[in-house]
Symmetry: D2
Subunit: 352 residues, 4 copies
């Protein structure tokens, strides 16, 4: 109800504030008896962690996972896993001047309106740091999905107006912006360095492809596979839109163009993005999300404070000029969680 | 779990197949003591019903609501409302030839894969007819939101490649395509007639504006207002994408452009679309959804049948060349349901 | 949230008031492809229906089921089943004199306090008639459980102070009070006739035995099998307590007496009632519920009215002197629903 | 779904095993802006903790709470509270000999059947230690209820066959068995010492009284106040039954005796235990639970092991001869959680 929980069978609850003692996650509904290697989870954490390259924030969080429960003798027990990530490189004093001012693009104003109180230090609960718990839970889901033959990969499709023109999957984890096109990647890195120098930030588009999902996954009519993915993606702070398959381009297509014909080998096109009637059809699942420019910039901006006075604000602190590179493991994590949950729901329906 | 239910406090469950006895909805969690005029609900049903104009399917459903429970002496009692809509103009025999073939763009294949069995008549549960129950429930939510001062309006923004250039809200319900621009509307109507003659269909974009939502609505971190709206919209069969405020255009914006500055009177721009950190900020909520071209077309298409044989299919039957005009009341209904539910969740949080 | 729904995977929602148009139920999460014979469900309805013998209320409801959705060609489709039971023998005018007075033992006062409004006719939503929907849903669950080899039987263990001393399962459905002891049954019937003549009513105890449940069913820590059964039973209006296995007698036992020892063949006693740590252990599940005396009696009672004035009330109308005989199918239905839901949850946990 | 979560608005999720790193709880849906004194929560922890007197287990857990999130500047923020309780006095080696044997009365066998794997150390997740998290969450609920004027008190009503004959509320926390009768308390203490010496244990009855609940709390039809309390109480490992008001005695009462008459001042008796139709009626809420004898006894018992062989077992370790004294704060905690959640649900229903 209070919104910190996602999932019905494979279920996670995140907790923690950016500058509190720790952030973390509870994962319940985990298949028992599955070997989970700590390094497997840590690897995903490291893809999200700050300070990993010149294009990300210099905040130094080691994000070393601490599994408090749910594992015995290296295997899941089926009881809830609690994974803690202690906050280490906190500078709450850096936020003293925003205690009373509302930073444009941030949730400062809306949190105060909602709760009547807020923990302003580093955005508190609204911080992107909350997603660390999601990535830990997502790694557990990813492990379970591997056993089902499901593969998930996300990457930067465009950033700061620069678009990928080629697709080289092997290159994605080889460049700090996680772009799928080596030429575009180079330009994106330069763009980020320019923006960092100018105290500004930029948006981008992240694309996600999911292979190996069997047909039949997704629950009509409200918990459709695309509806659940849309919710999961829009629950990531910086995401402002999502489209599946042909997406918004479908607005200018005819039915005779958009419908995917079939032959005995399967679908001959994929305008549907692998989902029809909210259920996977066995084709590759493809969606794109738009990531807004980072709200924290050091250019002066006009705003209001809690006393209703107008003022100028400069958001100092340590920030990513573009969120795309570090949002990618979060997109993959949420996609993994959605899929593992819906697989288990399909299992429940057919249980004899 | 099985996906026929949406909402936590204000909660609806739809049921029924296109060519069964009836479709309908249960609405639970309704504020007690509210006067509900049957005509108020019926008005919304009439906006969605087939056969209302030359641009919609000729299937004739009167969609007369039958409130079975939850109302006494003209007022809600707080107990579940069951609203039934009997199916009247059914022609199941029209679907005999698709009993074994998978229509491109339809959920025929995916339903069979999911359930191992399906009611093929008029798409069964996957039919757009299922949304009739949502519109009935949405009318109840709309009534409750009116008491809160919330106003919701959706309209066709583009259709078949024709875009609205002006915005005249008073004109929306005056034209059969529900466009916001009289000039564009005329062109759209002609386009639909052409496509109907050619046995084809087209996509479009529907935009929705919501005014009067107080700041503070939406639940961090998974049940954000935009996440819930995204889920609700993508749960509508033909919707393939959603964007809020500046939407996908944010991919090419800088932080200094996208952030909405504030002064003492409020926000000076609305790139956020009225939602920051998943919580309403008091500005107008604006989102757009892309509606795919109607899957049912009478042009021959290549497909497969249940025996794995390739065949050609012509989808006869009675269909809308564009779903936009009739999807608009469904978009408004789902938006109403999302908001009323989140308002009540905010009420629960602050209840003393 | 509003409380009309039970279950996580196998899920039902009831609706309807005693003297409205109909009562009914939505069942979602039904295994697809299962043959459901209407007569199978109707048989359970007939066990609950009023007017079935001299010991029950003379209200005449035929309770003929009307399956609106979720079945095609005699098989479940996996989509929600809506089952309607029209109200036929209504005498709302019989309730005119209680429009303003609170009947002792009834929910008149509490409903008004909760909702600020109520449908007083025949107790409205608080009527035992609401359980008709549960019995219909329970019959679906029972069908699914039969495929798993699970058998559920409930019976009157004591009534009006008369206790069963023997156990003859084959006799239970042969006598109108559904007692398990022919000698006690005769006395119970006479007791009921006496009480009916005196305008009074009596309580009793119903026992339930469930056989064939495999070990491992039930979800630690809050959704234990006994916790779910307790909730389900206490959700039946007239039930005021429940005990498992040795039950309240355990208060005077030693650990060395209460612990059930095992040998290679299984458990050597069953003080646990088949449930340990909230999980089935493979032994027979045994519980007892206490059923309060029917609240509606024709003896004059002291009460208050909505204006705060004291008055005397005589509850006329048509009522059961003891609820035990007709509550038995409701107890079995709720037990079936709990078990089918937990079986499916176990299936979800282990789904690969 | 996996059962580690309770509540709809005020919601808790417990995690952790008896001999893992920690046990703990996440509490979501907490009213923001409420001052929570750490000492307030710790006081409840201390009432539950082991080693507090001669009648409890000598295991020494300090159970010092560690609030990881959800509090800022001494006040709740409305975001999830994570409360950790590190395990300190663990002796996992004490459990080596039960790694393969099923202890009678314990969940060893059922957990293995359910999950196919188990953490056997100190009963793992099935340990009573899991309730520490509930008591922490219950303290938060209690704080919120105090603001509503609600008061909850539980006490030992009978233990080892010794029954309280008088009621002195001020004495309850003055004696280690938490009995309400000084004479009975003395006998109970002696009984426990005898049983400890004999390597045996005993059961008892705990009664709970709740005052100050306004009429109207509880959700028809499945989430009745008594249904939710029943579920919450039966979710406590050692509880095997519950009864409200007159309880099982109602089986031998007439309607004219059991119905509670009213006058202008309220109800003249309380056979209903303060709940009618599943909704609070403003009278004192009264229920009793039966607590089974502690399963861990040092008398030799017959059992089976994982290889299917019969064997004798002596459960060494450190255990409470009766669970009643330490279960009392757990009963109060769960009652607090149920009530705060249902209060908030009532708030959601009437939110304007």
């Amino acid at each position: 109800m209070a919104g910190s929980t996602y999932g019905e069978v494979f279920k996670l609850t995140t907790f923690g504030e950016s500058h509190g003692e720790a952030v973390g996650v509870i994962v319940d509904g985990v298949t028992p008896g599955v070997e989970i290697d700590n390094a497997y989870i840590q690897k995903q954490m490291d893809r999200r962690k700050p300070g990993q390259s010149s294009v990300t924030t210099p905040r130094k969080e080691y994000d070393t996972i601490n599994i408090v429960s749910g594992i015995y003798d290296g295997k899941t027990t089926g009881t809830p896993m609690c994974i803690l990530l202690y906050n280490t490189d906190m500078k709450p004093e850096a936020y003293d001047d925003i205690r009373n001012a509302f930073r444009p693009g941030h949730a400062d104003y809306t949190y105060l309106q909602k709760y009547g109180i807020r923990d302003h230090r580093g955005s508190g609960r609204a911080s992107g740091r909350e997603t660390a718990g999601r990535v830990a839970a997502g790694a557990v889901a990813r492990k379970l999905l591997e056993r089902r033959g499901v593969e998930i990969v996300a990457y930067t499709k465009s950033l700061g107006g620069i678009k990928c023109e080629t697709y080289d999957e092997s290159y994605i984890e080889q460049n700090p912006v996680r772009a799928c096109d080596p030429v575009a990647a180079e330009k994106m890195i330069n763009r980020i360095h320019e923006l960092a120098a100018a105290g500004d930030s930029c948006g981008g588009i992240v694309e996600c492809r999911i292979r190996g999902v069997k047909p039949g996954i997704g629950e009509p009519v409200f918990d459709k596979l695309d509806a659940e993915l849309a919710k999961a993606m829009l629950s990531i702070g910086a995401v402002k839109g999502i489209e599946f398959g042909a997406g918004f381009a479908a607005a200018e297509m005819l039915g005779s163009e958009h419908n995917d014909p079939m032959d005995a080998s399967g679908f001959l096109s994929n305008n549907a993005g692998g989902i029809v009637g909210g259920i996977s059809n066995g084709a590759e699942i493809v969606f794109r999300v738009v990531v807004k420019p980072t709200s924290s910039i050091s250019k002066p901006q006009q705003t209001m404070n809690v006393r209703g006075e107008e003022q100028t604000i400069v958001t100092i602190g340590r920030h990513d000029p573009s969120i795309c590179p570090r949002i990618i493991p979060v997109v993959e994590a949420m996609a993994s969680i959605v899929l593992e949950d819906l697989y288990k729901r399909q299992g429940a329906l057919h249980d004899q």
